[in-house]
Amino acid sequence: MAQQTTAGRRYLRAFVSGFFVAVPVTVTVLDRFAYVARVEGASMQPFFNPEGGSKSDIVLLNRWSVRNYQVQRGDIVSIVSPKNPQQKIIKRVIGLEGDFIRTLGYKNQYVRVPDGHFWIEGDHHGHSLDSNSFGPVSVGLLHGRASHIIWPPSRWQQIKPSLPPNRGPLDTKEEEG
């Protein structure tokens, strides 16, 4: 009888010590390195969720690459929504600080992105809550960069930064010519 009790107590001790290792490590990995998220909604069609309906893409978000808030134009990033701090939204970076953007439906037709901000848009214009509704977004809200689509398996791919046609910062030289 005494031997069984010690075996049970040993198991409990192993479980508790394993728990105290697994939880902090998992939390740290999710906060600092990588995060997995499901893309919901139609705001990034046809890039994400091209069929819509019940089939949602699942993406891998790289949090380590944004630790210094470095992003490129054309990257797909996830940010904390400026309208709702408990929600994250995933959109494409169109302009960085200092760029001039021709907006689609914003209160000003031309916007200069202020320092420490960037301009994001969903690929599906008109069905997207993005900078065209709430303006330039502070870089401090950056959460992660979408690096790969990992589900469904037929859509496995690495996401490369690419600006959609006709959406990008205005080049001042073009305007003069």
Binding site: V21, V23, P24, V25, V27, T28, D31, R32, N68, Y69, V80, S81, P82, K83, N84, P85, Q86, P114, D115, G116, H117, S138, V139, G140, L141, L142
Partner: protein
């Protein structure tokens, strides 16, 4: 015969030492990772120590004061009007600012200075907060850059730790800029 046998003994000794050193190194690395992760969780979810600089929160917080800012209120969305918060600067995410919350989303805030004849007001938009320093004359805050998104807030300052003669909780706003609504408790 004898030399081959002693060679085997020496090789076995080296292998044994290598295994011991490898075991100790892996154990050390494992402990470092584990304690590093525990430290990350503590600083991210419990609180952190902050050294404040600048005159924008005088007389409540003076230059070179050390304060403790707790993270739980921010994660549970329990920041209230009148709290002093540490937030990421909207113009430079690598810089932090320390200001007082004057209004939460939906609140009315006064955008004119006390010396203006005509008072103007605005309402804080959804998901944002209005921050002002206690030293109104020497503070760049929401009066210049507007309301900031709630998610830029890092933590709530709850305790001053240094200098020792002003150790303790922090005082209420001396500026009387907070507009109390009917739903606030007294």
């Amino acid at each position: 015969m004898g030399s081959a046998w002693s060679e085997r003994r020496i090789t076995r000794w080296y292998v044994e030492m290598f295994r011991r050193v490898l075991g100790k190194t892996l154990g050390f690395v494992g402990y470092t990772i584990q304690y590093g992760c525990i430290a990350h969780c503590a600083f991210e979810y419990i609180g952190e120590f902050v050294v404040c600089s600048g005159p924008s929160m005088e007389p409540t917080i003076i230059n070179h004061d050390v304060v403790f800012s707790e993270r739980m209120s921010r994660h549970l969305c329990k920041i209230q009007k009148g709290d002093i918060v540490i937030a990421k600067s909207p113009y430079d995410p690598n810089m932090n600012i320390c200001k007082r919350v004057i209004g939460l989303e939906g609140d009315k805030v006064c955008t004119s200075s006390p010396s203006d004849l005509f008072k103007t007001h605005t309402y804080v938009p959804k998901g944002h907060v209005w921050l002002e320093g206690d030293n109104l004359r020497n503070s760049t805050d929401s009066r210049s850059y507007g309301p900031i998104p709630y998610a830029l807030i890092r933590g709530r300052v709850c305790l001053k730790l240094w200098p020792p003669h002003s150790f303790g909780t922090l005082s209420e706003s001396p500026t009387k800029r907070i507009i109390k609504t009917q739903s606030d408790s007294d």
